[in-house]
């Protein structure tokens, strides 16, 4: 093959400067499944002549047996990249496409329409300036249209184009278009979009894409591509307060210590007075370093390395700001969440929260309400399921620097990460700080059990395991403690080993001594719960009366009785400490199950079948039941 040569008189420098001076528009296509998003993008690529000969050839081959336009091509094949997507004819994940016109460069995120892939739509929306929201002219607004609109609003997309597609299939009927536009404007009134335009198109046939279509003389608005080429979306981020999240401490040798990062907003100059948001330690900027030479200043979007005039403690996660315009610094805030995991969000659960370069353990302290995406109404909720959007309060283990998302998306947007699987669970946007950590004073509240427990982000409670020796109580309690601790909970296990050898070493095994043993353990459990802990008590506690006593001592503390129901034959076979053998030989008296009875609990809260299930499965089952 031979490629065409450039004309000799082409001025490359001029041409190159035109290329690099073009502005960049990042947009996404969204809307319900089958509204034609992929076809529209294929159309945009085709019409801007970005589909190359070899791609076109393979496309025509693949378009066999599919819905095609005048060009004989199923445009959606261009963008559905995964084998599973082409097989099922749906879009699963966001695909990025690139095209440019004489006026602009475009990065397009083609996002999936199915509800189950809403998280991938949010991924595409989070970096977009503008959204093309597609609606099928035959169907009008659907739940997904509304859900996507709400998510656009939540992640801060300010410019929306309502693309009423497949208008050819309703006979280019103006009344249908007008009705859909009116419905949508009514719905979107409170979503905070700065601009909202509506265009009737046929992506398959190319109507109103590049130019006004003869088939819709009634449409007087701007066609799609000219609209995208001219809409002004840039916000003057340089005029906002200066924020510099420190990503990496740059220390090649003892003589140089710089802080590398990207200016999130505002501008910084050599000589400026800055503060570390967390410590409020001041310093002056002495250098703005890049490999191309030192700069006098840096603006939003530039990746630089800042050098300060004095040695102060700054590390990854710190935020530098100008004195007087510092970000909020708090350990509590209200936020909106899009939940992206099959496992729902619960109040009191602990997660990892990442905002900027800061990662901290964090707890959802309150789910205030869920938003119904169809009506935008607030609905009471005690959990958030996959793809649900809620308003919550969050407490972090230590104070973090942030801005409200509306003021600064880069310092106000965060993700929640699962502490065990490391999956990304949610996208969140901070609405406002609830109280400044430094304003907390001890006079303002009485320190009681609830306050102590809230400080640990949990409900103080007692989980009481009863069952034969060797039934598996301690094994399950240990597994539960491990999982809760990994989730950021504060637990303690009381069992025979740590109580009988100390606190209760004066007690024998007569019936009276056993009652006193249980009483003391119940009192200790109560004190620990009063300190705000989750107390796991693992005692044989064979008598119904003493288990009642323990529950009574707990008073208003949540008390869960867990019966580990393992048959004597199984427990005796395990005999981890050789006690059954000794009891059978008569070396131990009053041994439960041998010469002392075990009273089967009449109404345990949870029964685990120790002879049938694995300890880990039982611990998980109990964890789910407890919903701690």
């Amino acid at each position: 093959m031979t490629l065409a040569m450039a004309t000799p008189d082409t001025n490359l420098d001029l041409w190159l400067s035109q290329q690099t001076d073009k502005s960049l528009l990042r947009f996404l296509t969204c809307g319900s499944v089958d509204d034609g998003k992929s076809t529209l993008i294929g159309r945009l690529l085709y019409d801007s002549q970005l589909i190359l000969d070899d791609q076109l050839a393979s496309l025509k081959k693949e378009s066999h047996n599919r819905t095609v336009g005048d060009e004989g091509i199923d445009f959606s094949l261009l963008v559905d990249g995964l084998a599973a997507e082409r097989e099922q004819g749906i879009t699963i994940d966001v695909a990025y496409r690139f095209f440019s016109t004489d006026k602009r460069k475009f990065i397009v995120a083609d996002t999936p329409g199915h509800e189950q892939y809403t998280r991938n739509m949010a991924t595409g929306a989070s970096n977009a300036d503008l959204a093309l929201l597609l609606v099928d002219a035959r169907k009008g607004l659907l739940t997904q249209t509304r859900r996507h609109s709400f998510i656009l609003s939540l992640v801060g997309v300010k410019h929306v184009v309502l693309v009423v597609n497949k208008i050819d299939l309703v006979g280019y009927d103006q009344a249908i278009f007008d009705q859909i536009e009116a419905d949508y404007r009514a719905f979107a009134r409170d979503l905070g979009f700065q601009t909202l335009a509506a265009v009737p198109v046929s992506a398959l046939r190319g109507d109103n894409i590049l130019a006004n279509s003869d088939r819709m003389p009634w449409f007087k608005g701007t066609p799609l591509v000219p609209y995208l080429e001219t809409i002004e979306v840039a916000q003057d981020k340089a005029a906002q307060p200066f924020r510099f999240p420190v990503q990496w401490v740059n220390r090649p040798n003892l003589d140089f210590r710089g802080f590398s990062g990207t200016v999130a907003s505002g501008e910084v100059k050599v000589g400026d007075d800055v503060l570390v948001a967390a410590s409020r330690k001041p310093a002056k900027i002495s250098r703005v370093v890049t490999m191309d030479g030192d700069l006098h200043s840096a603006v939003a979007g530039q990746a630089v390395t800042l050098v300060l005039d004095r040695e102060i403690d700054v590390s990854r996660g710190d935020v530098l700001a100008h004195a007087g315009t510092v970000p909020e610094f708090s350990n509590q805030f209200q936020a909106r969440l899009v939940w992206m995991n099959d496992e729902p969000a619960y109040q009191g659960r602990s997660y990892l929260l990442k905002v900027g370069a800061q990662i901290v353990p964090a707890t959802i302290t309150d789910i205030k309400f869920r938003t119904n995406v169809n009506t935008l109404e607030h609905v009471a909720a005690n959990k958030l399921d996959l793809n649900e959007v809620g308003t919550v309060t969050i407490a972090t283990d230590r104070a973090i620097a942030f801005d409200p998302y509306a003021d600064n998306p880069l310092t106000g947007g965060f993700i929640l990460i699962d502490r065990l699987s490391n999956a990304t669970l949610a996208a969140g946007t901070i609405s406002f700080g609830l109280r400044r950590a430094q304003n907390l004073t001890y006079q303002s509240f009485d320190v009681n059990r609830q306050v102590r427990a809230e400080q640990k982000g949990q409900e103080a409670q007692i989980v009481w395991f009863t069952g034969l020796s060797g039934s598996g109580k301690s094994t399950i309690a240990n597994l539960l403690e491990k999982r809760l601790t990994a989730e950021g909970r504060h637990c303690y296990i009381l069992d025979g080993d740590n109580v009988r050898h100390g606190l209760n070493k004066d007690l024998g095994f007569t019936e009276a001594a056993r009652v006193e043993n249980i009483r003391r353990v119940a009192e200790v459990a109560k004190l620990m719960a009063d300190a705000g802990l989750i107390v796991l008590v693992s005692f044989i506690s064979p008598f119904e009366k003493e288990r009642h006593l323990a529950r009574e001592i707990a008073g208003d503390i949540r008390f869960t009785e867990v019966y580990v129901d393992t048959p004597l034959s199984v427990a005796e076979q395990r005999d981890p400490k050789g006690l059954y053998a000794k009891a059978r030989r008569g070396e131990i008296k009053n041994f439960t199950g041998i010469d002392s009875p075990f009273e089967v609990p009449s109404a345990p809260d949870v029964t685990l079948h120790g002879g049938q299930e694995e300890p880990a499965a039982m611990a998980d089952k109990l964890h789910d039941w407890l919903k701690i």
Binding site: L52, G356, I415, T424
Partner: protein
Amino acid sequence: MTSTRLTHLQSLEAESIEILREVAASFERPVMMYSIGKDSSVLLHLARKAFFPSKIPFPLLHVDTTFKFKEMIAFRDRTAEEYGFDLITHTNQDGVRDGINPFDHGSSRYTDIMKTAALRQALNAGRYDAAIGGARRDEEKSRAKERVFSHRNASHAWDPKNQRPELWRTFNTRLNPGESMRIFPISNWTELDVWTYIYDQNIPIVPLYFAKPRPVVERSGTLIMVDDERLPLEPGEAPRLETVRFRTLGCYPLTGAIRSDAADLPSIIMEMQASRTSEREGRLIDSDSVGSMEKKKQEGYF
């Protein structure tokens, strides 16, 4: 700078630098894949910028299939010496022992063993938890779907149907034991962006990108350069000198040259602008079957 708004290339550069710094700050043992091509040259340049005045805080890894162009290897060693980065090269010795080559074993099997398996070996041997690559989303359909921080399970496999959501520039870099991450800092660059950046920044690239008379044979429409005596010539076939260049670089028996007179960067860029074929067309491994790249990636290919 008079304007407070960054140009297209400046904002792409800053985005890539931020990603590279996030890798250095978040992982225990990162490594950067170095394939010696133009995208690797851009990646190397960006990494030098990201950490200046420090040296690049991770090694560069080149998987040598033993069939790379000789000029690539010379360029690699020259570049490593000039910039002083830590270069690791790896070749699948099992493949060498079995004499695996693209002629007798086919491009697909050869690539599996000398590239994909070799890469897995090298990543396992280095116990790298993060591998940085120069792939771009405009290259191929399954690449267009990939995250910037792309999660891999313990066997280096990609699960395209279950990618982590990736919000804003807040990357989830956390891993469980044995898992790893592939990171693509120039995901949002196009081929034209790469070339204009190379021109703008005066970045050295392998001379094979520039047109020059080279010995080639033509096979089913593809021009293959006879880089050494290992290329078996068919009866009656003789290499002839043609003025050609390469749009992408890989293993010489699997990389098609194009006839061109573009001997400097301006000519290359102008030629590219006029071109009507995509750059991967010169790569013989992608066109085996629809979705073949996705399949390779699931198996651990970059």
